[in-house]
Symmetry: none
């Protein structure tokens, strides 16, 4: 059945727990999510495997979230079908990405179009720089600068709570902006470019390669290109990669 | 010293835990409070007395809140110096009092004048009717009607979070986005790319050239890249344009 414009709403965001450590905290995050109507949890490389017997009791009845949780090997895999990826961080980092509050992020997620993913890091250390690089936008909870001690479930509940406020208000997007391409399509383009650059010796010296790749990823993630735009750029790259001299 | 109008701010609200059961939950509530700048906790008839050795470890460093916590025999005693008393409840009750969200309550608390108190009930049962009767207003967190499972610390953190939004400490984090490159720099990059693409026969058929160039310009203008990002991309293009086969 085809939906008409009135029926079209932005899907709820996916909560991605990146390398979570304790099953108990996964359960608490599930409980926090379901309180505010979020159902879809994805787990990237959970430390103690999955399923985890400690998760259920901590979920206090939010079993439906745990039962449907899916496991991925990498952040890129977990967000491949998502158009907009947010990384939650506590500290400011030296990254040139927009930083928004949970409130602003919730508004953006409702505005859509396309599905969003929200990344939460491991309990102790938070997200690594490479995880953050996948995201277009950073969510930072404005917190007491002298005492910032949010645990995983608390960070999840604040973001879920802000999202839930907009559910009743959610309107179909007014503008006809094309949806942002799923992250997997962008990754494909970035991979193609990196391969070309490797072939011509761009990545040098070797110890700078990860930083250079992050820089490229960041600036190519920034635009929020549509699928059509990504296809156009891949065509450009393919043309540039063709043998020359003809 | 008398404060003038500009200096006069409404004091932060007092968090009143009514007959709390577990010391651990008192500690978690303290942690939730301090994250969002609330310092004053009052305890009404804590079940296991006070101080409670289980509270400290659960507070994760929010000791200042626990050390200053004061114990009262009744709700009435605990809120005697407060101008506005809120009772947090999950369910609607048969009481004829205004029911507001944490967001609305936070706005009222900031508007003042006078100090506010927010009552939170025991973990299992919530506030009794007699406790609610002391309050002028009820705070209810809008929650998933099919799964309402907020624990004490979570209820506290949502209310504290909403309050903190109205305070100076709750400024949205500054974004460190670099300025967008002047159009001339972008044009330089677009010109470089077009020249490369002309060299490899990308623009074909001829009657499509203007539309294709517009498409490329549109998608390269969309990001709002900084000067540094434009320079990086020009470096990428220069590398790709170098003679190959070496």
């Amino acid at each position: 059945m085809e939906l008409n414009v009135q029926d079209r709403t932005t899907p709820p965001p996916v909560v991605v727990l990146v390398r979570p450590q304790l099953g108990e905290n996964i359960g608490k995050a599930a409980r926090a999510m379901l309180n505010f109507g979020l159902l879809e949890m994805r787990l990237v490389a959970p430390r103690d495997g999955w399923p985890n017997p400690a998760a259920g009791p901590a979920a206090s009845g939010a079993d439906v979230v745990l039962e449907q949780a899916r496991v991925y090997e990498s952040v890129a895999d977990a967000v491949a079908d998502c158009s907009q990826v947010y990384a939650t961080t506590v500290r400011k980092r030296g990254v040139t990405k927009p930083v928004v509050t949970p409130e602003v992020a919730a508004g953006e997620i409702h505005a859509g179009p396309g599905r969003s993913a929200i990344l939460f890091g491991p309990e102790r250390s938070g997200l690594e720089t490479d995880d953050v690089a996948v995201a277009r936008t950073i969510i930072t909870v404005p917190i007491n600068p002298e005492f910032g001690s949010l645990n995983l479930a608390q960070a999840v509940i604040l973001v879920a709570y802000e999202w839930s406020k907009g559910v009743a208000l959610a309107q179909p997007p007014e503008t006809e902006l094309p949806p942002v391409a799923p992250q997997g399509e962008l990754d494909g383009m970035i991979g193609q470019l990196e391969e070309m650059l490797e072939g011509v010796g761009y990545f040098f010296p070797p110890d700078r390669v990860p930083a250079t790749k992050r820089t490229l990823r960041t600036l190519l993630t920034k635009p929020g290109w549509s699928s059509q735009e990504v296809r156009t750029l891949r065509g450009v790259l393919s043309t540039l990669a063709r043998p020359r001299g003809r």
